[in-house]
């Protein structure tokens, strides 16, 4: 084992694992109760309907049992978390007004540069409240709303109320109920009819304080004929006790609209990342989820598309990397409600150093969903004998006039490929890197350049640890 490997495998060398000393203006007591939920609604000065929804969701959360069909969640202690913390008093629009210590964290993540070069707007979430928000003037002029969801509740109450919780109702699962009860932050995006937003909108999400669960809530509404690409990426400091991230993302894609939602998830390896992401696609709409999962201790995330009207199309690209101590339980769902809808799911996973990557997915065709086509392709790469790969696809087909296929394969880095590359003077480590890069390339190439670069760098770092 080289020195490099030893240091890179140590938790405190986690590349994005630095953290600022957290200073909080307010945070709730530990644990979850009616009082905590009412406090959150009170601080946010929320309208009665939202307060009622939170309390209803809390009741549902308390009734529902933990999911027992997937990864081990026994170490998640829901009573030991803080459910709300706010680091600064109000969302900032001007970068210069953001408190220095928060800015320094973002500086190290490169957000200002990214923004200068590339971004249309930044909503960066520091713990549970958005502290920085900026939308370019031309977007605002086009009528595009890009705000943190708390602000949206205040400033666009009718829009939020009309769509909030319609795609992922609180009762969907235990963690969507939890999120609905204590949610804070997240992005709200509204794209008016016919508007094409050419540059991706982007937000960084971070967990910064020990034992703080993060429950952001994102809602995207794409009116007919519009287009938006939203990117979320996250890096988080490492702490010793387990953190929880339970987000809910709802995306509504109306007739002829197209939404692409890209995620690069690199939570530190003590985070339980339990996320419900779902979209509804209407006539001729296109939904694309690009979902890269590299970090976290446990991730459970299955971006879903409900194809509600003819002509709707969904595409999910899922990439997972499970290293030491990690369980990536990821996948996708395509639910064909309407006839003549199509879906494509492509999943690639890599397991190494005892990590476990599981694909879990659903393709459902309701009776009457005639002429649908669905194709699922899962590939898994195992880099050593301690690691594990699983595939749990479910196909429920209640209509005969369909074309549904599922294919999966699991392989190792083949000796032949390695031999070929080594015979051309490439050392084993470099050769493995090349093979892995080739394996993930179909997904990475769908990301904007900066994310693709970061993703490739993250994968390389993990591989160097593995190969040593």
């Amino acid at each position: 084992m080289t020195d490099r490997k030893a240091t890179e495998m140590m938790p405190d060398s986690y590349k994005w694992g630095f953290h600022d000393e957290a200073r909080y203006v307010f945070r709730t007591e530990r644990g979850l109760s009616r009082k905590v939920v009412e406090e959150i609604a009170g601080i946010k000065e929320e309208p009665q309907w939202m307060r009622d929804m939170r309390l209803r969701a809390l009741e549902i959360f308390e009734r529902k049992s933990m999911p027992n069909w997937g990864p081990d969640l026994s170490a998640v202690n829901l009573n030991d978390l803080y459910y709300y913390a706010r680091a600064s008093d109000r969302p900032e629009r001007d970068w210069n007004e953001v408190p220095d210590y928060i800015r320094s964290t973002f500086d190290r993540l490169g957000i200002p540069e990214a923004e200068r070069k590339f971004l249309a707007g930044v909503g960066a979430q520091y713990d549970s409240e958005t502290v920085y928000h900026n939308i370019r003037e031309e977007l605002a002029k086009q009528g595009v709303i890009f705000a943190d969801t708390d602000t949206a509740v205040r400033e666009y109450p009718d829009l939020v109320r009309r769509y909030f919780g319609t795609v992922v109702p609180p009762a969907d699962n235990k963690f969507s109920a939890l999120n609905s009860a204590v949610w804070s932050g997240g992005s709200f995006i509204y794209v008016p009819e016919g508007v094409h937003v050419d540059i991706p909108l982007q937000a960084y999400f971070r967990i910064n304080a020990e034992n703080i669960g993060q429950f952001e809530r994102t809602l995207i509404i794409a009116e007919p004929g519009s287009f938006i690409h939203y990117i979320e990426g996250c890096t988080a400091p490492i702490y010793t006790t387990n953190s929880l991230h339970a987000a809910v993302v709802e995306v509504i894609v109306k007739k002829g609209a197209r939404v692409r939602y890209s995620t690069v998830q690199n939570w530190s390896t003590n985070v339980y990342n339990l996320v419900t992401k779902r979209s509804v696609a209407y006539e001729d709409a296109v939904v694309e989820w690009v979902d890269g999962n590299l970090g976290s201790k446990v991730t459970m995330k299955y971006p879903a598309v409900y194809l509600m009207e003819p002509g709707a199309h969904s595409e999910v690209l899922s990439l997972s990397f499970a290293g030491r101590g990690q369980h990536q339980d990821t996948g996708a769902k395509a639910v064909h409600v309407a006839p003549h809808t199509t879906s494509v799911i492509t999943s690639k996973s890599i397991s190494k150093d005892g990590g476990r990557a599981s694909y879990r997915g659903l393709v459902k065709a309701y009776s009457g969903a005639k002429g649908i086509r669905s194709s699922v392709r899962c590939d898994a790469l195992l880099l050593d004998g301690d690691s594990r790969s699983d595939t749990y696809p479910t196909m429920e087909i209640d209509e005969r006039d369909v074309t549904v296929s599922h294919e999966a394969s699991v392989s190792k880095v083949s000796e032949e490929q390695l031999f070929y590359l080594q015979s051309r003077g490439i050392d084993e480590q470099e050769a493995t890197k090349m093979i892995v890069n080739g394996f993930v390339e179909p997904i990475v190439k769908e990301l904007p350049m900066e994310y693709a670069v970061e993703l490739n760098r993250l994968i390389e770092l993990q591989l160097e640890g593995a190969i040593g």
Partner: protein, 438 residues
């Protein structure tokens, strides 16, 4: 702890054991299994394994747990006529064996092919060593425990080391009426380097009253042995059927396992191939044709526990009317089972307006140097282009559709070498399956 109901059942078990003149250990085995059955929880219907299947199909309400039977001279004559293709036959009707015979040359080689009750009396050591000790244990689940307590009938096939039986053996279970629960048990022990084929048929005509079949098939394929087993299930529409088929494969052994299913109301089977030693190879073929309100549910396991093992599964189904087929297919590659090759393929043809399929092919892989591990599943209707092509050549839509379905199933039958090698038997199975297509 025994309440009045279970006491009555306990007496029933003692009577059943006495009727078969069983040794004490076998009675104890039954009683122990009965206690297991009582202790174990029934499925609630919420389990992944059960959530698509009506658990009430397991009910024993109103069913006779042992039904004696006789064989009419006419049927006996028919069996004698039909025996030619086989090296031996065992026929069970309701809960009892009514007919058995084997070619003398096989007996001279030390082959045992007899009903399990006789075997328990005549070969107590062999039975005690292999019966529910290795492939299927009574504690596997509640209804296997019930089977272990109430089993009656079935076949025992023992092939000594190095003995190869060229002609297939045949076991049949039939039902004369409804209102009966049958528990046939088949145990195959193929010693090192032996080779044998068993074709087992379960069937009945449609009856008015509900019946239940709960069968267990244990297959022990020792080092270098070859076993071909084909189970043909053609129960009447009044029969709910639950089967547990499990094979354990030794070093360098080969198993060919075929399941042909077209009958029953609810037909649920689990089918496990345990590749426990290097070089073991299993080929599994399932062909299913369901119609009306039939529900078929199959759970398969390709369990690679040793290096250099190979398994291949092909399931083909044709579903008409409101038929519903569920397939849970698990391939597991354990740590250390490197250089293994596993494949699963499920092809489903939906013909009925309300026909449904749930296909769940699962891979669990813990060894990194798998040679290949893959699965595929498709669901579709009859290809309109193929139909159009055939109709343009003068076939009616119905004939064209029938030809496509016929070809679809025939491709699967061709994978069963045990049937291909014995054309007469192959044809009879084929006729029965394809007759349903018409």
């Amino acid at each position: 702890m025994l309440d009045s109901v279970s006491l009555r059942k306990r007496q029933a078990i003692e009577e059943l054991s006495a009727r078969h003149e069983e040794p004490m250990w076998l009675l104890q085995h039954r009683l122990k299994a009965w206690r297991l059955y009582e202790d174990m929880l029934p499925p609630t219907g919420r389990e992944e394994e059960w959530r698509r299947t009506d658990v009430s199909a397991l009910s024993l309400d109103g069913l006779t747990l042992f039904a004696p039977a006789t064989l009419s001279p006419r049927l006996r004559g028919g069996l004698r006529e039909g025996r030619d293709g086989y090296g031996g036959q065992i026929v069970q009707r309701d809960s009892q064996i009514v007919f058995q015979e084997m070619r003398p040359e096989s007996a001279e080689q030390g082959v045992i092919f007899t009903d399990l009750h006789s075997a328990a009396r005549q070969h107590p050591k062999v039975i005690r060593r292999h019966f529910m000790t290795e492939a299927v244990l009574p504690a596997a689940w509640k209804y296997v425990a019930l089977h272990a307590a109430l089993w009656s009938g079935g076949a025992f096939l023992y092939v000594p080391a190095g003995v190869e039986i060229g002609v297939p053996l045949h076991a049949v279970v039939g039902l004369s009426s409804g209102g009966v629960a049958v528990f046939p048990h088949t145990l195959i022990v193929a010693e090192e380097g032996s080779s044998v084929t068993l074709i087992e048929e379960h069937g009945s005509s449609d009856g008015d009253r509900r019946a239940l079949s709960s069968a267990v098939v244990e297959i022990l394929v020792r080092d270098g042995a070859q076993v071909r087993y084909v189970g043909v299930q053609d129960w009447g529409a009044n029969v709910d059927s639950f089967s547990t088929i499990r094979a354990v494969l030794g070093k360098g052994s080969q198993l060919e396992l075929g399941l042909v299913g077209s009958g029953g109301h609810v037909a649920k089977a689990s089918l496990d191939a345990v590749l426990s030693a290097p070089g073991a190879t299993a080929s599994i073929v399932g062909l299913f044709l369901a119609e009306g309100d039939q529900h078929m549910s199959y759970s398969t396991l390709q369990d690679h526990r040793a290096a250099n093992t190979t398994s291949d599964l092909l399931f083909k189904s044709v579903l008409r009317d409101n038929a519903y087929l569920v397939w849970n297919g698990l391939t597991r590659i354990h740590k250390g089972a490197g250089e293994s090759d596993a494949n699963q393929s499920s092809r489903n043809l939906l013909l009925g307006e309300n026909a449904r399929v749930a296909a769940i092919p699962v891979l669990e892989i813990e060894a990194h140097d798998v040679t290949r591990c893959s699965h595929g599943a498709t669901v579709s209707s009859v290809d309109e282009e193929q139909l159009y092509y055939m109709m343009s050549r003068g076939l009616t839509r119905e004939d064209a559709s029938r030809a496509i379905v016929d070809g679809f199933l025939r491709q699967g039958l061709e994978r069963l070498t045990s049937l291909q090698a014995h054309r007469g038997i192959g044809r009879s199975v084929e006729r029965r399956l394809l007759a349903e297509v018409a």
